[in-house]
Amino acid sequence: MSGRTKAVRAATANAVADNPAPWDAVGLTQQEYRSIAAALGRAPAPLELGMLGAMWSEHCSYKSSRVHLRRLPTTGDAVLVGPGENAGVLALPEGWAVAIRVESHNHPSAVEPFQGAATGVGGILRDIFATGARPCAVLDGLCFGPPEQVRARHLLRGVVEGIAHYGNSIGVPTVGGATAFAPGYRDNPLVNVMAAGWLRADAIQHGRASGPGNPVLLIGNRTGRDGIHGASLLASRSFAEDPAGLRPAVQVGDPFVGKLLLEACAELAERGLLVGCNDLGAAGLTSAASEAAGRGGMGIELDLGAVPLREQNMDPYEIMLSESQERMLVVVDAADERAAVAVCERWGCELARVGHVTDDGRIRIRASGTVVADMPVALLTSAAPRYRRPARRPAAPARARPPDRDLTAVDDWLERLLAAPNICSRRWIYRQYDHQVQTATAVLPGQGDAAVLWRKGTGFGVALALDGSGRLCRLDPYGGAALAVCEAARNVACAGGRPLGLTNCLNWGSPEDPATMGTFAAAIDGMARAARALAIPVTGGNVSFYNETSGRPVDPTPLVGVAGLVADIGRRRGSGFPEAGLAVALLGPAAGRLDGSEYQVQRWGAPSGAPARPVFALERGLLRVLAEADLRSAHDCAEGGLLVCLAECVLTGAAGARVRLPKPRGRLDELLFGEAPGRVVVSTDNYGALARLCRAAGVPCRKLGVTADGRDLVAEGLGTWSLRDERGLEPWLA
């Protein structure tokens, strides 16, 4: 047994009790322990300390990020539920609403990719249906080391299989996301899972306990010894070299039970039987119970003898901190308890009455007739520490000077970039995901810049995109985070959606490192600025710190998930040219920068310099043009630059194109492969109207050419490319 395995197994009641430094075993500092003892007026009991260790962990308490997250705008016309609940909720037409949330499952996925990713899907889906919504889509933001590396391929395979295993079985389509490869993620992959769900705006459930005396029910899986202290010891610490010894802290998912739990909770919600509903995720019963009581301003009393167990002889500490999957804590009105039991029985979901709501604001745990924990709820929730950690702000990035000459011809650069891991087709991934179950996916993966889900029975839909760039954020945290907001919004707009709100997942290294904290603070500023400028409120999300191994942090990576309204589902858009004879136009500036571009990495080996920052007036204008113009296709010009973007429009569409690119003002490679925000390639059968609209919106617009029969991309004076088969990830994975 390795030393680390011992550390996890040691986090039991006995070890805490006998330890001269008991705070250590639960991931707290001595200072934090002292403040707990001061608040209680006594030393905490071992169970109490374990519960506090979990709730005061970075993962659950956001103790290092909260002072920064406050700067994000969280209100707007469409926001029905903002941060602090299980998921954010945005208003749609005709009394409908959509719930969105994204969460990281990085640490478990690094230890055990299949189960780590699978339980990531299960966890985020429970967050969605805890709001009373029926999950309708999953998107994944995945970052791995370069696919040439064996470990990266192992993690990629395992993560994709795990997502497929859970999502396909539970019957929620996996419709999109983003996948990036960079050396910084070699040991610490990122697995961010976003989900969305439909609900009626007047039937939103809250994760709240109310009504003293009301029964507290535990539904779903039995409680086992899996995942004990996942929140505090796995998610809130950095890895040493080999994380395999942490496997006992990873949970195992069961999508079949997840499906039964989903159906039972949906029926409870539809029949109006719920007072409150809270997912058991990180910190298990401890967090579900204390959060529910905290939000409702109530107390809660649990009798652990009533908790259905998977294993014998589990002690209170294990029961309260188990992270066994597929469990939901539900509060019902005492009069509805029998009806709730009947619903769960019908779905074959185990249900147990494990306690009741009280009015004294305390969480009280009984086991074998004795009280083993008794604390103010607030000590676990609102009184958790908040730190303004030392932060060393990054210096403003300086432009890079390309080390050698400009291109004189395209040569094989287009083919090389189209085959690059960060640009090539994601078909190998999304083909393993059922992306059509629920028969509502109107823009499929690979067809558009965002997935579009049709709200059947109405004429509207929702566009969903998840985007962000660790590479750009590494060079310029402020600009990179602002760009993540702009790009996700642009993707939604390209597919025909008007952005309503966003959810974010912030993946950083250790908050105890001032440089890391500095890039985090700068990124929050950039994200806040962009979200304000585009009027896209933040409805919640997740912060994942300690993404580092042996002191090497990942590239700071904010992933932004945007939901937008496609008011007329008939006006949804794909990214590919749909037919011959359309005008092809570029919206936004012609040339990009080499700094931070995929071309720079492919040609010179590493990103450097100062990537172009988004210009908010241009981004606003683009959103307007994309909302109002009659376009047949729209594709965000991102990784790879303009020529790659044009090639992708041919590859994902049904027509070729003949274009003449503008004369380069600077280097030819900046024009062809330079990257800059605020650029979109569109096709239209009414170029005149588009040009007029662009003038009114202050968006540069130039006609590049026309779409043509066949699958050739002809760029006059530069070359002709026959684009029939998309390059994919298969060369690395076959």
Partner: protein
Amino acid sequence: MSRTAVVVFPGSNCDQDALWALGADAVAVWHQEARLPADVSAVILPGGFAYGDYLRAGALARFSPIMADVRRAADAGMPVLGICNGFQVLCEAGMLPGALARNADIAFHCQTVTVEVADADTAWTAGLRRGERLRLPIAHGEGRYWVADLTGVRVAFRYAGENPNGSLENIAGVSNRAGNVVGLMPHPERAASETLGGVDGLRILGAVREALR
């Protein structure tokens, strides 16, 4: 009026899609019911992961109480259609010949395929012509059709072009001898709306509706 029953097993996840594609004259029937409703004149076993499919796909669902009545109705000639997981259940129940093994490349495949109608005389292909091609989505990890002896097996659909799972003789769907029980891996209910990419699936789902009218 007669209705089409869509059986809901625990873990079914295409039941609502089938009900939606069939429209008003469809009814969900919970797997624990002993009998199909009296006014039912066709049955669909939908896609999904019945009982989680942790054993073999469909291996547990065939023991669900409703299956006895489905078998009785099928023996009496009622049209029964198994889609994806439903096809697997029908094979496990012995109501269709053969078995569905793990895809040849051991990966789950979600994509749209072209299938050719091999037999236009079954209850579910009556509205189609032999040799006609349909575009239908698939989504499965265990869809490789296999049977020890093809003699007497009525093949209803074959993959035309790409065979996505390594099925024997490109078989995408089969029927029983009488032609009233059909199973296929592709999802006709996913090709039931232009908004979702096509309506070829309605030609299969509509076949019994037309015949019953």
